[in-house]
């Protein structure tokens, strides 16, 4: 229970203690880490991949890699969150490279966010489709920043820490990512 409190009350709890327990593969600590970071990692992965099943597998893979790395002493020495999300990003980039994506590929209906559009609103679904297609065409780094900032909802400072960049750099990145997204969406309609 103490671990739970530790992980949920401070942004940077006594990470040293947590990471030490992680290396020992202590069940309670592993469980606590999972509980603390699963929602964010999953949201991030699901946002990037837009597929719940793959997102589940990739998310589990992120934590499995954490265990493997920790056990052999290659785990994060600090900033666990950054390690997790960067790892997720790498796995996703590899996955996307392998899975051929044709830019004109239409996204299956099931993946559209039907739950959030009033039934029968074709226009809304069209907008969503345009967004997702355009998003898929962004560079990995642009997708990354948008997934962190809007998919998970991190603040600019958190994104900066995760990406190991300055907040100014991230401000520029997010601007450019949104601008690129907007251009692609326009192209979709033209």
């Amino acid at each position: 229970m103490g671990i739970w409190v530790l992980m949920h009350t401070a942004e940077n709890p006594d990470e040293a203690q947590v990471l030490a327990g992680l290396q020992a593969l202590d069940t309670q600590i592993v469980g606590a880490i999972y509980d603390r970071y699963f929602p964010e990692v999953y949201r991030y992965v699901r946002y990037r991949l837009d597929d719940e099943y793959t997102a589940e597998d990739v998310t589990s893979e992120v934590f499995v890699r954490l265990l493997e790395a920790a056990r052999s002493g290659r785990g994060p020495k600090s900033n666990l969150k950054s390690w997790l999300l960067s790892t997720a990003s790498h796995i996703i980039t590899d996955y996307l490279r392998r899975a051929y994506r044709h830019p004109e590929q239409s996204i299956p209906e099931e993946l559209l966010d039907a739950a959030y559009s009033p039934l029968g609103e074709i226009e809304h679904r069209e907008k969503v489709r345009a967004f997702k297609q355009a998003y898929a065409q962004l560079t990995p780094e642009q997708q990354h920043v948008l997934a962190l900032r809007f998919g998970v909802g991190y603040s600019i400072e958190e994104v900066a820490t995760i990406m190991k960049k300055s907040t100014n750099a991230v401000k520029v990145l997010q601007f450019r990512a949104l601008a690129a997204l907007q251009r692609k969406i326009k192209e979709y309609y033209d």
Binding site: W4, G31, E56, L67, D113, Y116, L146, F150, F175
Partner: protein, 381 residues
């Protein structure tokens, strides 16, 4: 003067605080034209991220990760030789044993008899047990064997605890005492933590439960999940979405074969049937992502399939309803607590099915019903 990028960020923050796009931009009229479309886009970007996370996904992943950790811990103890041998020797042993058993009338020399979950020879032991059971046709003898094996499960766990080994396990038994977070189930100390999933119905002493968790160095089992077992061993149904994942139904009720209560070590899927239970409402740590609704649609392992009925009289779970309707495979559950979740219904059910749930409330009756079942660990009066 603020630059364009900072202005964008400031507007984004203002929108996060609840301002409209127009309000946010009013501070930066010089950038309004350029930023307006981007801010509108950011709204859409944010909306797409806001769907809830199905709880079943969280649970499955958690079990998977914890088991992986347990396996990694075990592996560091094995020597390289054992790892190599396990590729060849164990299957050979399994085959050999089956052969010997088939062709001998006694065939009871069993070198794996003392193996514990997580041991190299443990699967051999379980296979041996299953073989014996499948070759026992007399119903009384079968019952006896089943009880012995169930007791052996408990012994194994106690041995694991005594040795301080850490292994994922599953077992079932009667709740003997509940002191805050320390329970005693079938003589085994079980620790309930914040992240233990408990059924929606309150558990009390004397109830039959299934515990899924991991043995701990300190000599307790840390529970990941506790399920109420009804007298009717309801099977979590096959579910469309879960097909590829939870194939090995860890039916925590040992109806006939013992292998139902699997130690998740053997479960190559890594899924120790997490989703057997899961009235996700209860679990305090899950509140945000809680999705009974989602489960009804997708995962179908709808919760309280029959388990919920065990509740003393007031099966008032809305979740029971959503259960049956979507017909997500769990038809066994359907007989049990349709919608009127009240004792009235339980009584009706009881008259239909001898094996029916109604455990909690029909005091005298439930006792009998328990006794109908194979779970004869406990005394049936």
């Amino acid at each position: 003067m603020t630059d364009l990028y900072t202005a964008l960020e400031k507007c984004l923050q203002a929108i996060e605080q609840g301002e409209s796009v127009e309000q946010a931009l009013s501070v930066y009229p010089e950038f309004a034209e350029e930023l307006y479309p981007l801010l509108e886009l950011s709204l859409q970007a944010r909306n797409l991220g806001m769907r809830p996370i199905p709880d079943a996904i969280r649970r499955r992943g958690r079990q998977r990760v914890l088991e992986h950790a347990a396996r990694l811990r075990q592996n560091t103890q094995d020597t390289l030789l054992w790892s190599f041998l396990s590729l060849w020797v164990r299957p050979a042993l399994l085959f050999g044993l089956a052969f010997v058993l088939l062709f001998s009338s006694i065939g009871l020399i069993n070198g794996s008899a003392s193996a514990l979950p997580g041991d190299y020879l443990y699967p051999v032991k379980r296979t041996w047990e299953n073989l014996r059971l499948s070759l026992t046709f007399n119903p009384q003898e079968r019952q006896l064997l089943i009880s012995r094996f169930e007791q052996e499960r408990l012994n194994e766990i106690e041995e694991l605890l005594a040795r301080g080994r850490v292994v994922p396990i599953t077992f079932s038994g009667l709740v003997e005492s509940m002191m805050g977070e320390q329970w005693l189930v079938a003589g085994i100390p079980v620790r309930i933590t914040d992240s233990t999933r408990l059924p929606q119905a309150p558990i009390s002493e004397g109830m039959l439960v299934a515990v899924q968790g991991i043995t701990h160095r300190e000599g307790v089992v840390e529970a990941f999940e506790v399920q109420l077992l009804s007298a009717n061993t309801s099977q979590p149904g096959e579910d469309d979405d879960n097909n590829n994942r939870d194939n090995s139904q860890n039916e925590n009720n040992d109806n006939s074969e013992n292998d139902a209560n699997e130690n998740s070590e053997q479960d190559s899927n890594g899924d120790a049937g997490n989703d057997n239970n899961g009235n996700s409402d209860n679990d305090g740590s899950n509140n945000d992502e809680n999705d009974n609704g989602d489960d009804a649609n997708g995962n179908g392992r709808n919760e309280s399939d029959g388990n919920g009925d065990v509740n003393d009289g007031s099966n008032s779970d809305g979740s029971n309803d959503s259960n049956d309707d979507s017909g997500n495979g769990n038809n066994a559950g359907d007989d049990n607590g349709m919608s009127e979740n009240d004792s009235h219904n339980n009584d009706a059910n009881d008259s239909n099915n001898d094996n029916d749930n109604g455990n909690g409330d029909d005091s005298g009756e439930s006792g009998d019903e328990d006794c109908n079942e194979e779970h004869k660990n406990e005394s049936c009066s």
